[in-house]
C-alpha cells in the first residue's frame, strides 16, 4: 500500500498496463506534457511518443481513429480532456465504438477506454462542467465506470484497459488531488460491475458515485450525530450496476436516496429509482428520493455555481425528511 492521489493512481494503472501489454497506448491532446490534469505524468518518458501520442484538436478523429486502432488489434486509452468535449465525438462513440462488435456479428472487438474528466470543478461554466454519465448508460454496447477512491481508480482503470468492450471511464475533476491508500500490486484489479459498500448504516440506503461519495460521507457524519445511520453504496460502475448490493441494502434499510451531481431530470438516478420502484416498492417504508442538480446550465459565478452543487446539508435535509415520513 502507498498513499497516492487519484491522479497518481490512474497514472500508475496506465503505466502498469502499458508495461504488461505492448498493445496498450494512450492518445489525446497534450498527453506528452502529462495531460491537462497530470494524469499522464511521466509516461512519455517511459513509453515514448508513439505510445503516449499527442494528437491534434480533432475529437471526432481521436475517437474514430481509436475505434479503427482497436479493430486493428491495439488497445487505446482515449483521453477526451473534458467530458464536455466528448460531445464532439459522439457519432464515433455511440454509432461506431459501441455498436461495431454487434453490427459485425461478433467478428471484431473494440477494446477502448474513453476517459472523460467530468463534473463541476471551480468557476468553469456551462461548457466545462457537465456530468453526462446517464447518456452512456442508455447506449447498448458501453460499459460505464465512475470510480471515487484512488484505489478504485487504479483497480478499475486497469480492469477497463483489460476489458474487451468500450468503457466510458468517468473521473471527477475534483478528485484528482484526493489521496488514499492504493495497493502496490500490479495485478490489483477491481472488477467492473461491482459496487462498494462505503459505509454501513441501518436507516437509509444512499446510492451514489464519483465525487458525491465523499459528499455523502460528510452527510452521513452529520446524520450520525443525529442518530441516523446512512448506508452508502458507492456504485462505482453505472452500467452494469450492482442491483444485488443495492437491493440487499434496501432489504435492511427500506429507504432509498440516490444522489448525483448531474442534472436530476433524466439522470441515472431515475433509472435506479425506477428499478427499485418496480421491484421493491412494497418493501420500502419511505418514498424514494433523488437528489440531483436542477435542470440548469452550469453558471460561472461562484454563488450561482454553488447553488447547483449537492452539499452534505442538502443530503441531510432530504434524509431527515425521508426518515420523518
Amino acid at each position: 500500500m502507498s498513499v497516492l492521489s487519484y491522479q497518481e493512481a490512474g497514472c500508475q494503472a496506465v503505466a502498469e498496463e502499458m508495461r504488461r501489454d505492448g498493445r496498450v497506448w494512450a492518445l489525446g491532446e497534450d498527453l506528452g506534457r502529462g495531460g491537462v490534469f497530470g494524469q499522464y505524468k511521466g509516461l512519455l518518458e517511459e513509453f515514448g511518443p508513439e505510445r503516449i501520442a499527442d494528437t491534434p484538436i480533432s475529437e471526432a478523429t481521436i475517437m474514430g481513429a481509436s475505434v479503427g486502432a482497436a479493430l486493428a488489434g491495439t488497445r487505446p486509452v482515449v483521453e477526451m480532456r473534458f467530458a464536455d468535449f466528448a460531445l464532439c465525438a459522439m457519432d464515433e462513440m455511440v454509432n461506431q465504438a459501441a455498436k461495431a462488435r454487434f453490427m459485425f456479428g461478433g467478428q471484431a472487438r473494440v477494446p477502448l477506454v474513453i476517459r472523460q474528466p467530468s463534473g463541476m470543478w471551480r468557476s468553469s461554466a456551462a461548457q466545462h462542467s457537465q456530468s453526462l454519465e446517464a447518456w452512456y448508460t442508455h447506449i447498448p454496447g458501453l460499459v460505464v465506470a465512475a470510480p471515487y477512491t484512488p484505489a478504485d481508480n487504479k483497480g478499475m482503470l486497469k480492469s477497463a484497459i483489460r476489458c474487451d468492450d468500450p468503457v466510458i471511464y468517468i473521473e471527477h475533476k475534483d478528485n484528482w488531488a484526493l489521496e488514499g491508500e492504493v495497493p502496490d500490486e500490479d495485478d490489483y484489479l477491481v472488477p467492473l460491475g461491482a459496487a462498494r459498500l462505503a459505509r454501513e448504516g441501518k436507516d437509509l440506503t444512499l446510492v451514489t458515485w464519483s465525487k458525491m461519495v465523499g459528499v455523502a460521507a460528510q452527510a452521513a457524519e452529520l446524520a450520525a450525530a443525529q442518530g441516523i445511520g446512512i448506508e452508502i453504496i458507492d456504485l462505482r460502475t453505472l452500467w452494469p450496476w450492482d442491483q444485488d448490493m443495492v437491493f440487499a441494502s434496501l432489504e435492511k434499510t427500506k429507504r432509498l436516496l440516490v444522489v448525483h451531481e448531474a442534472v436530476q431530470v433524466g439522470g441515472f438516478g431515475a433509472e435506479i429509482a425506477a428499478t427499485v420502484a418496480e421491484h421493491m416498492a412494497h418493501e420500502l417504508i419511505a418514498p424514494i428520493r433523488r437528489l440531483g442538480a436542477p435542470r440548469a446550465p452550469i453558471s460561472y459565478a461562484k454563488p450561482l455555481e454553488d447553488l447547483l452543487r449537492i452539499t452534505p446539508e442538502k443530503i441531510l435535509s432530504t434524509v431527515v425528511s425521508q426518515i420523518g415520513t
Partner: protein, 334 residues
C-alpha cells in the same frame, strides 16, 4: 496529378479484373431484384457503374491489407474477397450472413479478408481506416489500409480530420474518393466548394491523383504504383476516381432529379462495357466473355436462391456480441 492514359495491361490480368467487376455487377443486379421483390427488407445502395474502382484498387491489395467502406460497399467487399454468399445472406437478414444478420447491407464486415466494415454514417469510415493504419504502424505490421468514400463525404469534418491525422502520423492509408456525381439526390458539385477532393488532400500535404474510375486497367495500374509506395512507409496517398452512379441512390430511387438524357448517356461509359471491348481487342472471344458473364450471373443467382431459402437467425443469439458484462439475457418466449 492526373493519370488518364489507358494502362498497358496483360490479358489475363484484365480478364481477372473483368471477372471481379462482372461478379460485382451480377451481385448488385441480383440484390436489386431481391430488394424490389421484397426479399431484402433494408435499403440497398447499388454500386452499378462503379465496379472498376473496387476491382482495380483491391487487385493490388494483399489479404492482410485492410479496407473500410460506405453504405455503397458491396463491390469493395467482393473485390477484397468476401464471399458473396455470406453477403447475400446478410442482405436477406439470414443465418450465415457475414454479420449473422445483425448488420445488413450497410454494415457488412469480413475481418478474415481485412474488410473492416461498411458504415451507415457518411465519412465515419475515414477515421476508422486511419486508426486501423495507426494500429498497424504501432504493431509494426506492414499492411496498407484503403479507405473508400464518396464525393459527398468530403464535406464532413471527419474527412478533413482524418486526412490531417494520416499525414501527421505518416500512416499507410490510401484514400479513395469515388466521385459519382451525387450525394443522395444532391449534385455533389452544388455543395462542394473549391477544386474538390484532391485540392483538399493536397492542402494537407498529401499527394493526390485523379483517374478515370471507369477504366479498370488504369485504376489497376495507378494503384499498383501507389500501394508499394505506401507500404514502404511513404505515408498516405489520395486517389480521386471519376465515375457515375448509374442507378438511383437506393434500389428504389428512380433518380428523377437527374437529367435523364445525361444519365442514359452515361451507360456508354459503363466500365464493364469498356473492359469488355478492351478484352475483345486483346483477343478474347465473345464466347469467352459470355462464359465469364454467365458464370458470374449463375453464381449470384444461386447465392440469392440460397439466401432466400436460408433460415432466419436463431433468436437465441439475438443478444450475443453486445458486451461481455451487462448485456440482456435472452429468454425463450420473450
Amino acid at each position: 496529378m492526373s493519370n488518364n492514359s489507358s494502362h498497358n495491361i496483360d490479358r489475363d490480368r484484365l480478364v481477372d479484373l473483368y471477372r471481379t467487376m462482372r461478379r460485382i455487377r451480377a451481385f448488385e443486379e441480383t440484390a436489386e431484384a431481391a430488394s424490389l421483390s421484397g426479399q431484402i427488407g433494408g435499403a440497398v445502395h447499388l454500386s452499378i457503374g462503379q465496379e472498376a474502382i473496387a476491382a482495380g484498387v483491391c487487385a493490388n491489395l494483399r489479404l492482410s491489407d485492410q479496407i473500410t467502406t460506405t453504405h455503397r460497399g458491396h463491390g469493395h467487399c467482393i473485390a477484397k474477397g468476401t464471399d458473396p454468399g455470406a453477403m447475400m445472406l446478410e442482405l436477406f437478414g439470414k443465418e450465415g450472413g457475414t454479420c449473422g444478420g445483425k448488420g445488413g447491407s450497410m454494415h457488412i464486415a469480413d475481418f478474415e479478408v481485412g474488410m473492416l466494415g461498411a458504415n451507415g454514417v457518411v465519412a465515419a469510415g475515414i477515421p476508422i481506416a486511419v486508426g486501423a493504419a495507426h494500429g498497424a504502424k504501432l504493431l509494426g505490421e506492414d499492411r496498407v489500409v484503403v479507405c473508400f468514400f464518396g464525393d459527398g463525404a468530403i464535406n464532413r469534418g471527419p474527412f478533413m480530420e482524418g486526412l490531417n491525422w494520416a499525414a501527421i502520423f505518416k500512416l499507410p492509408v490510401l484514400f479513395v474518393c469515388e466521385q459519382n456525381g451525387f450525394a443522395s439526390t444532391t449534385h455533389s458539385d452544388a455543395v462542394t466548394a473549391g477544386a474538390g477532393a484532391n485540392a483538399r488532400a493536397e492542402s494537407m500535404g498529401i499527394e493526390a491523383f485523379e483517374i478515370d474510375g471507369n477504366d479498370v486497367a488504369a485504376v489497376d495500374g495507378l494503384v499498383g504504383d501507389l500501394v508499394p509506395r505506401i507500404r514502404a512507409g511513404g505515408g498516405p496517398l489520395f486517389l480521386s476516381a471519376r465515375t457515375y452512379r448509374l442507378k438511383g441512390h437506393t434500389s428504389v430511387d428512380p433518380a428523377l432529379y437527374r437529367d435523364q438524357d445525361h444519365a442514359a448517356d452515361q451507360w456508354r461509359h459503363d466500365p464493364l462495357k469498356r473492359a469488355g471491348e478492351e478484352l475483345r481487342r486483346l483477343g478474347l472471344s465473345d464466347d469467352e466473355l459470355s462464359a465469364i458473364d454467365s458464370a458470374a450471373e449463375g453464381e449470384m443467382r444461386r447465392v440469392s436462391e440460397t439466401a432466400d431459402a436460408a433460415d432466419h437467425p436463431d433468436l437465441a443469439h439475438a443478444y450475443d456480441d453486445i458486451q461481455d458484462i451487462g448485456a440482456p439475457v435472452w429468454e425463450a418466449g420473450s
